[in-house]
Symmetry: C2
Subunit: 153 residues, 2 copies
Amino acid sequence: MKWLTDKEMRAWTGYRRMRLLLDLRLQRELMSQSGLSEPDYDVLSNLSEAEDHSMRLSELARHMRWSKSRLSHHVSRMQQRDLVERHECADDARGSMLVLTERGRQSIVDAAPGHVTSVRKHMIDLLTDDELDALAAFSHRIVERLSADDAAP
Amino acid sequence: MKWLTDKEMRAWTGYRRMRLLLDLRLQRELMSQSGLSEPDYDVLSNLSEAEDHSMRLSELARHMRWSKSRLSHHVSRMQQRDLVERHECADDARGSMLVLTERGRQSIVDAAPGHVTSVRKHMIDLLTDDELDALAAFSHRIVERLSADDAAP
Protein backbone atom coordinates (compact mmCIF):
# COMPACT_ATOMS: atom_id res chain seq x y z
CA MET A 1 0.00 0.00 0.00
CA LYS A 2 1.36 3.40 -1.00
CA TRP A 3 -0.17 6.56 0.50
CA LEU A 4 -1.25 9.30 -1.88
CA THR A 5 1.34 11.95 -2.75
CA ASP A 6 0.39 15.61 -2.25
CA LYS A 7 -0.43 15.94 -5.93
CA GLU A 8 -2.60 12.79 -5.92
CA MET A 9 -4.30 13.87 -2.71
CA ARG A 10 -5.15 17.23 -4.24
CA ALA A 11 -6.78 15.50 -7.22
CA TRP A 12 -8.65 13.01 -5.00
CA THR A 13 -9.97 15.52 -2.44
CA GLY A 14 -10.93 17.87 -5.29
CA TYR A 15 -12.87 15.09 -7.00
CA ARG A 16 -14.64 14.08 -3.77
CA ARG A 17 -15.61 17.63 -2.88
CA MET A 18 -16.67 18.49 -6.43
CA ARG A 19 -18.82 15.40 -6.61
CA LEU A 20 -20.57 16.24 -3.34
CA LEU A 21 -21.24 19.92 -4.05
CA LEU A 22 -21.97 19.56 -7.76
CA ASP A 23 -24.46 16.73 -7.29
CA LEU A 24 -26.31 18.63 -4.58
CA ARG A 25 -26.51 21.78 -6.68
CA LEU A 26 -27.58 20.04 -9.89
CA GLN A 27 -30.22 18.02 -8.05
CA ARG A 28 -31.57 21.10 -6.29
CA GLU A 29 -31.81 23.13 -9.49
CA LEU A 30 -33.35 20.24 -11.43
CA MET A 31 -36.02 19.76 -8.76
CA SER A 32 -36.85 23.46 -8.43
CA GLN A 33 -36.99 24.01 -12.20
CA SER A 34 -38.86 20.90 -13.28
CA GLY A 35 -40.13 18.99 -10.22
CA LEU A 36 -38.02 16.00 -11.31
CA SER A 37 -35.53 14.16 -9.10
CA GLU A 38 -32.29 12.94 -10.63
CA PRO A 39 -33.54 9.33 -10.86
CA ASP A 40 -36.77 10.60 -12.52
CA TYR A 41 -34.62 12.45 -15.05
CA ASP A 42 -32.45 9.38 -15.67
CA VAL A 43 -35.46 7.13 -16.25
CA LEU A 44 -37.12 9.62 -18.59
CA SER A 45 -33.99 10.42 -20.58
CA ASN A 46 -33.09 6.75 -21.00
CA LEU A 47 -36.61 5.96 -22.23
CA SER A 48 -36.71 9.00 -24.53
CA GLU A 49 -33.50 7.83 -26.23
CA ALA A 50 -34.61 4.20 -26.53
CA GLU A 51 -36.27 2.65 -29.58
CA ASP A 52 -40.07 3.12 -29.40
CA HIS A 53 -39.51 5.06 -26.16
CA SER A 54 -39.51 1.78 -24.26
CA MET A 55 -37.14 -0.45 -22.33
CA ARG A 56 -37.37 -3.54 -20.16
CA LEU A 57 -37.31 -2.71 -16.46
CA SER A 58 -34.51 -5.25 -15.96
CA GLU A 59 -32.40 -3.65 -18.70
CA LEU A 60 -32.89 -0.13 -17.32
CA ALA A 61 -32.09 -1.34 -13.78
CA ARG A 62 -28.83 -2.88 -15.01
CA HIS A 63 -27.90 0.32 -16.82
CA MET A 64 -28.64 2.52 -13.78
CA ARG A 65 -27.00 -0.02 -11.41
CA TRP A 66 -30.16 -0.18 -9.33
CA SER A 67 -31.73 -3.39 -8.09
CA LYS A 68 -34.89 -4.36 -9.97
CA SER A 69 -36.97 -4.00 -6.82
CA ARG A 70 -35.67 -0.50 -6.10
CA LEU A 71 -36.35 0.63 -9.67
CA SER A 72 -39.74 -1.06 -9.62
CA HIS A 73 -40.76 0.95 -6.51
CA HIS A 74 -39.46 4.15 -8.07
CA VAL A 75 -41.28 3.52 -11.34
CA SER A 76 -44.54 2.87 -9.48
CA ARG A 77 -44.41 6.43 -8.17
CA MET A 78 -43.65 7.72 -11.67
CA GLN A 79 -46.66 5.75 -12.99
CA GLN A 80 -48.89 7.53 -10.48
CA ARG A 81 -47.66 10.82 -11.92
CA ASP A 82 -48.45 9.53 -15.43
CA LEU A 83 -44.80 9.85 -16.57
CA VAL A 84 -44.36 6.20 -17.60
CA GLU A 85 -46.51 3.15 -18.27
CA ARG A 86 -45.62 -0.40 -17.34
CA HIS A 87 -46.72 -3.35 -19.43
CA GLU A 88 -46.42 -6.77 -17.85
CA CYS A 89 -45.32 -9.55 -20.17
CA ALA A 90 -46.68 -12.68 -18.52
CA ASP A 91 -45.21 -14.96 -21.18
CA ASP A 92 -41.74 -13.43 -20.97
CA ALA A 93 -39.41 -14.20 -18.08
CA ARG A 94 -37.54 -10.95 -18.71
CA GLY A 95 -40.43 -9.10 -17.05
CA SER A 96 -42.15 -5.78 -17.48
CA MET A 97 -41.65 -3.25 -20.23
CA LEU A 98 -41.55 0.48 -19.44
CA VAL A 99 -42.93 2.97 -21.94
CA LEU A 100 -42.68 6.76 -21.87
CA THR A 101 -46.09 8.48 -21.79
CA GLU A 102 -46.82 11.68 -23.72
CA ARG A 103 -46.66 13.53 -20.40
CA GLY A 104 -43.31 11.91 -19.62
CA ARG A 105 -41.99 12.91 -23.02
CA GLN A 106 -43.15 16.47 -22.48
CA SER A 107 -41.54 16.54 -19.00
CA ILE A 108 -38.10 15.62 -20.26
CA VAL A 109 -38.40 18.02 -23.23
CA ASP A 110 -39.31 20.80 -20.78
CA ALA A 111 -36.65 19.90 -18.22
CA ALA A 112 -33.67 19.37 -20.51
CA PRO A 113 -32.80 22.98 -21.41
CA GLY A 114 -32.69 24.11 -17.76
CA HIS A 115 -30.67 21.07 -16.77
CA VAL A 116 -28.14 21.67 -19.55
CA THR A 117 -27.87 25.31 -18.46
CA SER A 118 -27.10 24.16 -14.89
CA VAL A 119 -24.51 21.63 -16.10
CA ARG A 120 -22.83 24.35 -18.20
CA LYS A 121 -22.91 26.97 -15.48
CA HIS A 122 -21.59 24.84 -12.63
CA MET A 123 -19.23 22.56 -14.52
CA ILE A 124 -18.65 22.47 -18.27
CA ASP A 125 -18.15 26.20 -18.92
CA LEU A 126 -15.57 26.33 -16.10
CA LEU A 127 -13.26 23.85 -17.86
CA THR A 128 -10.65 24.77 -20.45
CA ASP A 129 -10.54 22.90 -23.71
CA ASP A 130 -7.60 20.77 -22.52
CA GLU A 131 -9.38 20.00 -19.25
CA LEU A 132 -12.47 18.83 -21.15
CA ASP A 133 -10.27 16.47 -23.17
CA ALA A 134 -8.51 15.22 -20.04
CA LEU A 135 -11.82 14.59 -18.23
CA ALA A 136 -13.29 12.75 -21.22
CA ALA A 137 -10.17 10.60 -21.57
CA PHE A 138 -9.65 9.54 -17.96
CA SER A 139 -13.32 9.14 -17.05
CA HIS A 140 -13.96 6.78 -19.97
CA ARG A 141 -10.74 4.89 -19.13
CA ILE A 142 -11.89 4.41 -15.51
CA VAL A 143 -15.37 3.35 -16.64
CA GLU A 144 -13.98 0.81 -19.11
CA ARG A 145 -11.76 -0.73 -16.45
CA LEU A 146 -14.58 -0.95 -13.90
CA SER A 147 -16.95 -2.42 -16.50
CA ALA A 148 -14.36 -5.02 -17.53
CA ASP A 149 -13.93 -6.02 -13.85
CA ASP A 150 -17.70 -6.43 -13.54
CA ALA A 151 -17.85 -8.62 -16.63
CA ALA A 152 -15.02 -10.88 -15.42
CA PRO A 153 -16.13 -14.24 -13.94
CA MET B 1 -29.45 27.86 -23.62
CA LYS B 2 -26.73 26.17 -25.68
CA TRP B 3 -26.70 22.37 -26.03
CA LEU B 4 -23.48 20.53 -25.25
CA THR B 5 -21.07 19.98 -28.14
CA ASP B 6 -19.87 16.42 -28.83
CA LYS B 7 -16.66 17.10 -26.94
CA GLU B 8 -18.51 18.55 -23.94
CA MET B 9 -21.01 15.70 -24.00
CA ARG B 10 -18.19 13.17 -23.96
CA ALA B 11 -16.71 14.84 -20.86
CA TRP B 12 -20.11 15.11 -19.14
CA THR B 13 -21.30 11.55 -19.81
CA GLY B 14 -17.85 10.24 -18.82
CA TYR B 15 -18.01 12.14 -15.54
CA ARG B 16 -21.54 10.90 -14.78
CA ARG B 17 -20.73 7.28 -15.55
CA MET B 18 -17.41 7.39 -13.70
CA ARG B 19 -19.09 8.87 -10.64
CA LEU B 20 -21.76 6.16 -10.61
CA LEU B 21 -19.46 3.16 -11.13
CA LEU B 22 -16.55 4.44 -9.04
CA ASP B 23 -18.70 5.31 -6.04
CA LEU B 24 -20.41 1.93 -6.09
CA ARG B 25 -17.09 0.09 -6.32
CA LEU B 26 -15.34 2.11 -3.62
CA GLN B 27 -18.30 1.77 -1.26
CA ARG B 28 -18.51 -1.97 -1.85
CA GLU B 29 -14.81 -2.54 -1.24
CA LEU B 30 -14.77 -0.28 1.82
CA MET B 31 -17.70 -2.16 3.35
CA SER B 32 -16.31 -5.62 2.61
CA GLN B 33 -12.83 -4.76 3.87
CA SER B 34 -13.70 -2.79 6.99
CA GLY B 35 -17.44 -3.00 7.69
CA LEU B 36 -17.64 0.79 7.35
CA SER B 37 -20.07 2.66 5.09
CA GLU B 38 -18.85 5.76 3.27
CA PRO B 39 -20.60 8.10 5.74
CA ASP B 40 -19.04 6.14 8.65
CA TYR B 41 -15.64 6.63 7.02
CA ASP B 42 -16.26 10.34 6.49
CA VAL B 43 -17.32 10.90 10.10
CA LEU B 44 -14.34 8.96 11.47
CA SER B 45 -11.78 10.56 9.17
CA ASN B 46 -13.06 14.08 9.86
CA LEU B 47 -12.90 13.46 13.63
CA SER B 48 -9.46 11.82 13.42
CA GLU B 49 -8.08 14.92 11.68
CA ALA B 50 -9.77 17.39 14.06
CA GLU B 51 -8.14 18.92 17.13
CA ASP B 52 -8.64 16.66 20.17
CA HIS B 53 -10.39 14.21 17.85
CA SER B 54 -13.62 16.12 18.37
CA MET B 55 -16.02 18.34 16.43
CA ARG B 56 -19.41 19.89 16.98
CA LEU B 57 -22.19 17.91 15.33
CA SER B 58 -23.42 21.11 13.65
CA GLU B 59 -19.98 21.85 12.21
CA LEU B 60 -19.53 18.30 10.88
CA ALA B 61 -23.03 18.36 9.37
CA ARG B 62 -22.22 21.61 7.57
CA HIS B 63 -18.97 20.17 6.24
CA MET B 64 -20.66 16.96 5.01
CA ARG B 65 -23.66 18.92 3.66
CA TRP B 66 -25.99 16.75 5.71
CA SER B 67 -28.87 18.09 7.78
CA LYS B 68 -28.20 18.04 11.53
CA SER B 69 -31.06 15.59 12.07
CA ARG B 70 -29.77 13.17 9.42
CA LEU B 71 -26.26 13.24 10.87
CA SER B 72 -27.63 12.93 14.41
CA HIS B 73 -29.48 9.72 13.45
CA HIS B 74 -26.40 8.37 11.72
CA VAL B 75 -24.16 9.17 14.69
CA SER B 76 -26.57 7.43 17.08
CA ARG B 77 -25.95 4.20 15.21
CA MET B 78 -22.19 4.81 15.33
CA GLN B 79 -22.46 5.40 19.10
CA GLN B 80 -24.10 2.00 19.51
CA ARG B 81 -21.08 0.49 17.75
CA ASP B 82 -18.79 2.42 20.14
CA LEU B 83 -17.11 4.34 17.29
CA VAL B 84 -17.94 7.82 18.59
CA GLU B 85 -19.18 9.46 21.78
CA ARG B 86 -21.56 12.38 21.96
CA HIS B 87 -21.37 14.96 24.74
CA GLU B 88 -24.36 17.23 25.16
CA CYS B 89 -23.57 20.83 26.03
CA ALA B 90 -26.72 22.06 27.74
CA ASP B 91 -25.33 25.55 28.23
CA ASP B 92 -24.19 25.95 24.64
CA ALA B 93 -26.67 26.65 21.85
CA ARG B 94 -24.26 25.21 19.33
CA GLY B 95 -25.26 21.74 20.52
CA SER B 96 -23.53 18.41 20.96
CA MET B 97 -19.86 17.62 20.60
CA LEU B 98 -18.71 14.43 18.88
CA VAL B 99 -15.56 12.67 20.06
CA LEU B 100 -13.75 9.76 18.45
CA THR B 101 -13.49 6.70 20.73
CA GLU B 102 -10.39 4.52 20.89
CA ARG B 103 -12.30 1.91 18.91
CA GLY B 104 -13.29 4.52 16.32
CA ARG B 105 -9.66 5.61 16.03
CA GLN B 106 -8.57 2.02 15.55
CA SER B 107 -11.30 1.47 12.91
CA ILE B 108 -10.15 4.32 10.72
CA VAL B 109 -6.47 3.34 11.16
CA ASP B 110 -7.35 -0.20 10.07
CA ALA B 111 -9.61 0.87 7.18
CA ALA B 112 -7.44 3.57 5.62
CA PRO B 113 -4.77 1.43 3.87
CA GLY B 114 -7.34 -0.74 2.08
CA HIS B 115 -9.38 2.30 1.08
CA VAL B 116 -6.30 4.07 -0.32
CA THR B 117 -5.43 0.90 -2.25
CA SER B 118 -8.96 0.90 -3.77
CA VAL B 119 -8.75 4.58 -4.66
CA ARG B 120 -5.37 4.03 -6.35
CA LYS B 121 -6.45 0.90 -8.20
CA HIS B 122 -9.74 2.20 -9.57
CA MET B 123 -8.87 5.86 -10.11
CA ILE B 124 -5.59 7.56 -9.23
CA ASP B 125 -3.15 5.07 -10.79
CA LEU B 126 -5.14 5.19 -14.07
CA LEU B 127 -4.48 8.93 -14.53
CA THR B 128 -1.40 10.40 -16.21
CA ASP B 129 0.51 13.13 -14.45
CA ASP B 130 -1.11 15.80 -16.64
CA GLU B 131 -4.57 14.38 -15.99
CA LEU B 132 -3.96 14.50 -12.22
CA ASP B 133 -3.03 18.17 -12.54
CA ALA B 134 -6.08 18.88 -14.71
CA LEU B 135 -8.45 17.13 -12.27
CA ALA B 136 -6.97 18.95 -9.28
CA ALA B 137 -7.24 22.30 -11.06
CA PHE B 138 -10.79 22.11 -12.40
CA SER B 139 -12.31 20.32 -9.41
CA HIS B 140 -11.03 22.93 -6.97
CA ARG B 141 -12.20 25.68 -9.35
CA ILE B 142 -15.72 24.19 -9.46
CA VAL B 143 -15.79 23.75 -5.68
CA GLU B 144 -14.68 27.35 -5.08
CA ARG B 145 -17.38 28.68 -7.38
CA LEU B 146 -20.12 26.58 -5.78
CA SER B 147 -18.96 27.53 -2.28
CA ALA B 148 -18.93 31.22 -3.21
CA ASP B 149 -22.52 30.90 -4.54
CA ASP B 150 -23.58 29.27 -1.26
CA ALA B 151 -22.02 32.06 0.76
CA ALA B 152 -23.78 34.76 -1.28
CA PRO B 153 -26.87 36.27 0.35
